[in-house]
């Protein structure tokens, strides 16, 4: 995560890091093209692709009609025919209009065809709440997608992952869904060159600790790191695990952390019921039961369609104070 007070000259934002990743992909591989609603002239609903149309032209930065199913499906077909499409869906709520294509085609064609038809497609979309956009633009449905065999689900939470996850995603022969939390686009910080090629199979320890594991991903990472700061001030050493890849889950990293700390809080902006947090908790119970000194805690969104009013939206979402409180329950 970008820390404050670093050299301004080297600073970038999550949005710019993502744009640079797209630019690099478009430059280095002529099979890559970007397609979606308002990715071209408008510059992307969140400004991610601003300037790419001018640089790469309308064939490779392709504005589409508002037809999520058709352009996601077209991405699937283009991938089958040898291209490496990057399809942008404005928000995860709109992706439901393309769910048939994602589940019944992208995730399934390799298997149905007995291994003949891999689908090397990347689908990017924003997710998450926090901007008072109400109940049709604010949900976190990435856990639903993580339910589906045959696709990889990524949640870049840092500048480094925003910048460097796209290349390995495009190199993956199978469909990859990238969930970009809208609250992260303006996060800024110093972007360091990667020490090693980004590896999509492993979670990352964002802050080492010994007393409790705080397990999270995506837009909840900054809140969780802030909670770890508060806990440190109270004398509790929290380890923060960023799952990064929601499918396949890095069970080994989670179990290793729990083996060190013996306590766990799972932080997930999705609804609690049937959530990714539920899956992670179940796996800890299955694999690390005897390591646990306290029940696994979960901090999730309230079970309510996201309300518009600020105080209600804030109350619905996991907040740093909720994470701190859950950690205290587990430790005390």
């Amino acid at each position: 995560m970008g820390a404050d007070g670093e050299d301004l000259a080297a600073r970038t934002t999550y949005r710019e890091a993502m744009r640079e990743a797209l630019r690099e992909a478009l430059r280095s591989d002529d099979r890559v093209f970007l397609m979606g609603e308002d990715v071209g002239r408008y510059g992307g609903c969140f400004g991610v692709s601003l300037g790419l149309l001018e640089e790469f032209g309308p064939e490779r930065v392709r504005d589409t009609p508002l037809s999520e199913s058709a352009f996601v499906g077209a991405g699937i077909g283009a991938a089958l025919a040898g291209m490496r499409p990057v399809v942008e869906i404005m928000t995860v709520n709109f992706s439901l209009l393309a769910l048939d294509q994602i589940l019944n085609n992208a995730a399934t064609l390799l298997h149905m065809s007995g291994g003949q038809l891999p689908v090397p497609l990347v689908i990017r979309m924003t997710t998450g709440a926090g901007r008072q956009l109400g109940a049709q633009h604010s949900h976190s449905l990435e856990g639903w997608y993580a339910h589906i065999p045959g696709i990889r689900v990524l949640a870049p939470a840092t500048l480094e992952d925003a910048r460097h996850m796209l290349a390995p995603a495009l190199a993956d022969p199978d469909p990859v869904l990238v969930f970009e939390h809208a609250g992260l686009y303006n996060v800024s910080g110093e972007l360091l060159p990667p020490a090693a090629p980004v590896d999509l199979d492993h979670a990352a320890i964002r802050r080492p600790g010994t007393d409790i594991s705080l397990i999270t991903y995506g837009g909840s990472l900054p809140k969780t790191l802030a909670a770890a700061d508060e806990l440190a001030a109270a004398g509790i050493s929290a380890e923060v695990i960023d799952l990064r890849t929601l499918r396949p889950l890095d069970d080994a990293a989670v179990n290793a952390s729990v083996a060190r700390t013996h306590r766990a809080v799972v932080v997930d902006e999705a609804w609690r019921t049937g959530s990714l947090a539920a899956e992670v908790s179940a796996r800890i119970a299955e694999d690390s039961f005897y390591e646990l000194d306290a029940p696994v805690e979960r901090v999730c969104s309230a079970e309510v369609p996201m309300p518009y009013a600020r105080q209600l939206e804030e109350a619905a979402l996991p907040q740093t104070a909720d994470i701190v409180a859950a950690a205290h329950r587990a430790v005390d």
């Binding site: 093209f33 032209g57 309308p58 064939e59 392709r62 589409t64 009609p65 037809s67 199913s69 058709a70 352009f71 996601v72 499906g73 077209a74 991405g75 699937i76 077909g77 283009a78 991938a79 089958l80 025919a81 040898g82 291209m83 499409p85 048939d100 294509q101 019944n104 085609n105 064609l109 390799l110 298997h111 149905m112 065809s113 007995g114 291994g115 003949q116 038809l117 891999p118 065999p149 045959g150 990889r152 022969p173 199978d174 499918r247 396949p248 889950l249």
Partner: protein, 369 residues
């Protein structure tokens, strides 16, 4: 790379000159549902050998599926089995217009498309048996036949679900400067799905090299066309997107071939997607589970009197192009081929259960959770 142009075909292009008459867009709308549009006359074709091939391919599909019915009753094959019997002229006629490098996207009623496209009966039958030698390795079954080497992108069992990927295949070809056509089959039921609208619009907007083939068999499973479409003139609706659209007698394989050739020629010259509404009929129920309570026996019999195989056979006999012994030879050849396919499928290996998680991802380690 070609560049997408904002302009598009707003009018139907006139069909190529020919001695035969292909009904234009709108003809389907004028004819009441259930009544086929008249096909071309029976003027002799200069190539009776080609007609014999058409006949043999249609007959191979028919006999293959008749054998499937027996095997289904004997519980050798299971799942949904959607028979194409009665509609053979569509698959056989349309695929004549395609080159080997063209792509085909099909539906769950795709045995005919697969066989017409040259997937061997052995591989299709083994798939029906769920064996490793099947064209999808036994993972697909009747509704999911695939053959990447023949650019046969399958068996999609979600109505209209194959349309968007077909547009993508066409888009990729265009972007890579390959003069290939993608042919997408779908039924009249697909007209009620949003994906038809989305894909027709996208394909016309981007002038994609896409042949949209609507097999109008007048029923979306058990719901008659007039009970699921407010406007039953499907070609007119397709034309409203700005693409060339024709209604064709789908029981006359030569009319189908002629229309498909014109359409594919048009697509190859860059005039964008073309749409064919092929008026056809399935003689059997929707699937093996369907008691077929929603159709009048009379209606079925009326359509059976225009059986596409008998239509061509009789035409060839009239022209003196087909002797009884020719017909017998064709039948013998097909029977031997199908019996070989059945025997091979019976002997073919079953995939070990230990391999269950293969083909979930491309990772050689198998599925990861």
């Amino acid at each position: 790379m070609s560049v997408a142009r904002p302009t598009r075909t707003r009018k139907d292009s006139a069909p190529a000159k020919s001695g035969k008459k292909t009904p234009e867009r709108g003809a389907g709308g004028r004819a009441p549902a259930g009544r086929p549009v008249p096909g071309p006359g029976s003027a002799p074709d200069p190539d009776p050998g080609h007609r014999r091939d058409l006949l043999e391919t249609m007959l191979r599909i028919r006999r293959f599926e008749e054998r499937c019915v027996e095997l289904y009753s004997a519980t050798k094959i299971r799942g949904f089995v959607h028979l194409y019997i009665g509609e053979e002229a569509v698959a056989v006629g349309v695929t004549q217009a395609l080159a080997p490098e063209d792509a085909v996207v099909s539906t769950y009623r795709e045995h005919g498309h697969a066989l017409a496209r040259g997937i061997p009966a052995d591989a299709v039958m083994a798939e029906m048996y769920g064996r490793t030698t099947g064209c999808s390795g036994g993972r697909g079954g009747s509704m999911h036949l695939f053959d990447a080497s023949r650019r046969f992108y399958g068996g999609n069992a979600i109505v209209a679900g194959g349309l968007p990927p077909a547009a993508g295949l066409a888009l990729a070809d265009r972007m890579r400067g390959q003069n290939r056509v993608t042919c997408c089959f779908f039924g009249d039921g697909a007209f009620a799905e949003g994906e038809f609208h989305e894909t027709a619009n996208l394909a016309a907007l981007w002038r994609l090299p896409l042949l949209l083939v609507c097999e109008n068999n007048l029923y979306a499973m058990g719901t008659a066309l007039a009970r699921h479409e407010a406007q039953t003139d499907l070609a007119m609706r397709a034309a409203s997107y700005g693409m060339v659209a024709w209604t064709v007698d789908g029981m006359d394989v030569e009319a189908v071939e002629q229309a498909a050739r014109r359409a594919v020629e048009g697509i190859r010259t860059g005039t964008g997607p073309h749409f064919l509404e092929l008026r056809t009929y399935r003689f059997r129920a929707h699937s093996m589970y369907d008691p077929d309570r929603y159709r009048e026996k009379q209606e079925i019999e009326k359509w059976k009197s225009r059986d596409p195989i008998e239509l061509l056979r009789d035409r060839m006999r009239e022209n003196g192009e087909l002797r009884d012994k020719d017909m017998a030879r064709i039948e013998r050849r097909i029977t031997a081929e199908i019996e070989h396919a059945v025997e091979a499928a019976e002997q073919a290996p079953r995939e070990p259960v230990g391999d269950l998680l293969r083909h979930v991802t491309s990772s050689p380690a198998g599925a990861v959770s």
